[in-house]
């Protein structure tokens, strides 16, 4: 009973609150990093160095007027932000945050579920999130949201292919679809898969930028052309849900990158013996640190690179990344067969 219900429930509550708080502070971090890159100070007024700014932001979003356009499809308009947010959050169910720990002498694995199809589960969940964006744009019954939604869904569908193909080459190396097995395979392998599959890592990262609508691929919400893209008509709490989902998705793709390519909860150089003293750091701390380094890369790229044009985006996806990913799979499979003889 305790193993079946109580422990998973406690884990879910911890992960959920952790994700929500991380999202709040990720927004602050983004504003701060942008400010530092642009030689500004960023938010400074609420709390010392603006550390309480997220709380003020959330309060503002709660009390703002929640407007539903008159000509909107009311039910779908309300459902769309929920359809975007729920997949972004349930994807955390299969992410292994750390190795097994023992609490009061009871072994507790630091993941909510270890599905034998964990990686595919993330693909499946991500593909459902697209509906929220399309429906949000459609139900607003207004031209900019519709254009933004069409752009977003075309972009997401295109880059989903490239990202999923990089998963295939990782699966070829690890021999398993389970997220936990992928991490243990890297431990057995001696090096992180980032060194075994550098091309897959590159394609995954570019694809992840596009999948999360991040700069330089933030065309679905290109302010200069589309006002705010698919969520133009949203305000107040419903807008906040879209916002929350976007940042939660960023955390998901960073956590997946950490798990697949950067050894998940493993410490750096997991096979080097004289670094064993690093084992005193709890495994989940390594995971969080690595995830935040990947997240920082997202913020850094946003502050550095200008936006792509739409045709450039499509050309990059279909004519460069997908062929490269397929070639990578063929080479990986050939090397695997050659080594197994």
């Amino acid at each position: 009973m305790i193993d079946l219900l109580v422990i998973p429930l406690i884990k879910i509550v911890i992960v959920l609150t952790g994700v929500l708080i991380t999202v709040m502070y990720l927004v602050l971090l983004e504003r701060k990093v942008q400010a530092w890159v642009q030689v500004r100070l960023g938010p400074m007024r609420v709390g010392p160095h603006g550390v309480l700014q997220p709380i003020a932001d959330v309060l503002k979003l709660f009390v703002k007027e929640d407007i539903t356009p008159v000509r909107a499809d009311k039910v779908v308009f309300t459902l769309a932000p929920i359809i975007v947010l729920v997949p972004a959050i349930i994807a955390f169910a299969v992410i292994p945050f750390g190795d097994q720990v023992s609490i009061f002498g009871k072994p507790v694995p630091l993941h909510i579920a270890d599905l034998n199809v964990g990686l595919l589960y993330i693909v499946a969940v991500a593909s459902i999130g697209i509906y929220g964006i399309i429906l949000g744009g459609w139900s607003s019954n207004s031209k900019y949201p519709l254009l933004g939604a069409l752009r977003a869904s075309a972009q997401l569908i295109s880059y989903e292919v490239a990202v999923t193909l990089t998963f295939v080459s990782v699966i070829l190396v690890s021999g398993s679809l389970s997220m936990v097995d992928i991490v243990t395979a890297q431990k057995a392998n001696g090096v992180w898969f980032a060194f075994v599959q550098p091309l897959a890592l590159f394609i995954y990262f570019v694809g992840a930028l596009a999948e999360t609508n991040r700069s330089p691929f933030d065309l679905p919400e290109a302010e200069q052309e589309l006002v705010a893209g698919f969520h133009t008509e949203y305000s107040g709490m419903r807008f906040a849900l879209f916002f929350l989902a976007e940042y939660a998705n960023m955390i998901v793709v960073s956590a997946v990158a950490t798990t697949l390519f950067f050894g998940g909860w493993l410490r750096p150089f997991p096979s080097v013996a004289f670094l064993h003293f690093l084992d005193f750091v709890p495994t989940w701390i390594w995971f969080v640190v690595k995830t935040f380094l990947v997240l920082y890369l997202f913020l850094w790229i946003r502050a550095t690179l200008p936006r792509y044009r739409y045709d450039q985006l499509m050309r990059l996806g279909w004519k460069v990344l997908i062929p490269l990913a397929i070639a990578n799979i063929i080479v990986t499979a050939a090397v695997k067969v050659a080594l197994s003889d």
Binding site: D73, V76, L115, N116, V117, L120, Y121, V123, A124, V125, A126, S127, I128, I130, Y131, I134, L135, W138, L146, L150, S153, I157, L177
Partner: protein
């Protein structure tokens, strides 16, 4: 017992949303009901222990194909209800024909079961929790030719779509 409750709940939801798909006035709502329907079908696969098929069901049907339906429905203006066919009794006749065919099928199945109760499907394979490898093994050994034929079919469809969309190659 628990499995039976889960099965009948899922089956009732699948049927209910199936009815909603064809009765919804708004085409976009109808497509959304179809997505929910597919998600419940994925639940049915989980109940059978076929997690791989469940996830593939979500990726391919709920997440892939229906998104394209949604595109078509959103871009083609379907606000106007379709005009009624000139022959008013056509619908009734079609309905009666379809239900007679279904009735005949049901009677045939019942009769077949009565005549040879044990014959029919081969016994199900023992499915371990890790059935990804099992599915892959079957696809590349016993079912290799159907698998390759299906992939050829998809390739032909893909080439056809490109030829149709791009007239000057």
């Amino acid at each position: 017992m628990g499995q039976a409750i889960a099965f009948y709940t899922l089956a009732a939801c699948i049927l209910g949303f199936g009815v909603l798909v064809i009765t919804a006035k708004n085409t976009v709502h109808s497509v959304m009901f179809l997505v929910v329907n597919f998600l419940f079908v994925a639940g049915l696969y989980v109940l059978l222990g076929a997690q791989f098929l469940a996830v593939i069901q979500v990726v391919v049907y709920a997440g892939g194909i229906v998104v394209l339906y949604l595109f078509v429905v959103m871009l083609v203006n379907l606000k106007r209800p379709p005009e009624a066919h000139q022959d008013r009794r056509r619908r009734g006749r079609l309905g009666v024909t379809c239900s007679l065919v279904v009735l005949a099928e049901l009677v045939a199945i019942a009769a077949y079961k009565y005549v040879s109760p044990a014959a029919g499907l081969p016994p199900a394979l023992p499915m371990g929790p890790d059935n990804v490898a099992q599915v892959g093994m079957l696809l590349y050994t016993d079912y290799l030719i159907p698998f390759e034929l299906a992939s050829m079919l998809l390739l032909v469809a893909m080439v056809g779509a490109i030829v149709l969309a791009k007239r000057d190659l």
